[in-house]
Subunit: 341 residues, 2 copies
DNA sequence: CCCAAAAATTTACGCGCGTAAAAATATTAT
DNA sequence: ATAATATTTTTACGCGCGTAAATTTTTGGG
């Protein structure tokens, strides 16, 4: 960093000995200028620490390089993890990601979408709240902004959908549980926030019927996104009332399972597959925390990398002009065997 | 939403029957125009769904309404929670928050700061990585942008510091442990990422000496931000080698404690204060997850609301012109008694 | 060395809004 | 009602950059 402060691209062009339109071209796409020009500009950037004014840049551009990433709840490490993954893929492809959380609130989700619209982003990666979402608002947004839906599918809106194959998830882990012990009961929320939960229940029922077992679904009360507490309270009641018809419980997701494990602990019910254990508990999601429960949680994990990779690639392709019909991609999960089941 | 699309403020001013400069004034501060004018503008906004172009708005403004929020690691629910809190306080005060995570990487932290600088924010709420931070970069940033440091203090830079009183934290929970059973050993990382860890160790040693007990600090290896795994591996070794001189372990933070609990589980060491238990474990932070460990973790919790409130208020006051000398505010935590200790 | 193609330069305009200054109008106090 | 004050309107310019068109320069191949 030498010399006096550069105020704008005009001045920067002068000191770097390149014309302003060429410099502008460079900032829009460094590969669009000749290599020798590029290195001269880059030397000048290095020397004068110049960065174009992002507001002036985006004002006249039809398409900014901004990408919005929206998740339902950033304080859920699952979403935090996938958001981080997406963020870095955006950066790697030269986009400027901005992270938003709906904080589990449909009104906030709409506000986020409004904010996003004002940003005129090149595209948006959106994980909707699900059941609570204002569907019409999402639909309208998708019409204005290239949007790829991930994690939880809401009709056929946007450019497409990328997420996990919930049928495969539940089918696979139900299979595992059936083969290694008593067939599982299914532990879920009565009114889940997320539509994936319905698919998982259906898949459980189908898998059980394939095995010739009687499905047993325990649906517990509770609203909102405090899944652990819902699992703990519901689990407490279920254990007390002896509502689990077998010694194995498959939870609709890991966070519920974490709550159920706490309920088991509090009632002295030993969890695991040892001979001294009275219940097996499994989750679904491969939640970052599942490794550290006691006992460590058997679960079926999202393929975080593949989901974010596929989602980001699909969005970037669409941004760069590729037109493809609406498409749903559902990736398989992999079983993580631990001590809980 | 009626009529055709409004393209810019000029058109919007025309249809709303107000002059453009007045409309501009309204968008900068709705209270700066007469109530009757305000309601006419608001009616027109309602009707035409107009929003000014944020890029054009910010281009000429000396001070945008943007506020940056930077945390070291968004996938840590503690930071996610405090970030959420700060975000909503910004919104409530009419600022536009943007969330950033350094993802535990000092180079990324510097990049975030560069991005932030380009946004010309009114102010920034920054929780530094700590030990790994590029101190000179932080210092330079604080000179350019009004920055309030929170969570983890790095010299006397920025407008001030707001965080928890780590001495009080450790002193308080050490007191509790000493009074209710054997005095605690202290379980920590040898090279912690966060400077708060040093304060906590010092405070532990001081508290033990006050009681006339011999301090016993167990420092385990491990780099980075995977605290649970570090706690689990370090805990595993410590238990195996019988390195805890008493039956009580105070962990430097909750995430280490969570890992230690897993290590205990894996070695069949029963944790809690019951007669059948062989070890007591306590954490520090009041991590969102601490309620759901097995056994639930006794800890001393940050006052999330007060920290974010104080930090946000201090920043907003400075933005609005209030000049105050650099000041460090450290808030007390409160003990959360659960079954682990 | 010449020529066609590629790249850079010159010139010029416009984006949407902030903002300043002077004039006109509305509101409030006297 | 009148003066004093607060608000709004009119007018006008500029911010920093995107971008288009015409021109000039550079490049690489034969």
């Amino acid at each position: 960093m030498t010399g006096q402060k550069i105020r704008n691209m005009e001045e920067f062009a002068r000191v770097s000995g390149i014309s302003r339109p060429t410099v502008s071209k460079y900032f829009n796409d460094p590969t669009s200028v000749r290599a020798s020009t590029r290195s001269r500009i880059e030397a000048a950037i290095e020397q004068h620490d110049y960065r174009p004014n992002i507001y002036a840049m985006n004002q006249n551009r039809k398409l900014t390089k901004n990408v919005g990433i929206v998740v339902p709840l950033l304080s859920d490490p699952y979403f935090a993890e996938i958001a981080r993954n997406l963020e870095q893929r955006c950066l790697a492809d030269g986009y400027r990601p901005t992270l938003f959380s709906s904080h589990g609130d449909a009104a906030l989700e709409v506000e986020v979408l409004d904010t996003l619209r004002a940003m005129k982003p090149a595209g948006v990666l959106l994980a909707p709240l699900g059941r609570a979402s204002d569907y019409r608002a999402l639909e309208a947004f998708c019409k204005d902004v290239p949007t790829l839906i991930f994690d939880s599918s809401v009709q056929e809106i946007g450019l497409g959908f990328v997420g996990s194959d919930n049928f495969q998830f539940t089918s696979h882990i139900t299979d595992y549980l059936c083969r290694t012990g008593e067939p599982p009961c299914f532990f879920e929320m009565k009114t889940p926030a997320n539509p994936n939960a319905h698919r998982r229940r259906q898949s459980y029922v189908a898998a059980m019927e394939r095995f010739g077992f009687e499905p047993d679904v325990i649906s517990v009360d509770g609203e909102g996104w405090g899944f652990e507490e819902i699992g703990r309270l519901g689990g407490y009641e279920a254990i007390k009332q002896n509502r689990f018809s077998t010694n194995t419980v498959l939870c609709s997701n890991d966070r519920l399972a974490i709550g159920l494990l706490t309920a088991c602990y509090e009632q002295g019910v030993k969890v695991g597959r040892g001979k001294d254990c009275s219940i097996r508990v499994a989750g679904q999601d491969g939640h970052p925390h599942s490794r550290y429960t006691c006992p460590p949680l058997t679960t079926i994990s999202h393929n975080y990398d593949a989901v974010s990779q596929t989602a980001a690639d699909a969005l970037f392709a669409a941004i760069e002009g590729q037109v493809t019909p609406w498409k749903s991609t559902r990736l398989e999960g992999s079983l993580i065997l631990r001590d809980s089941a």
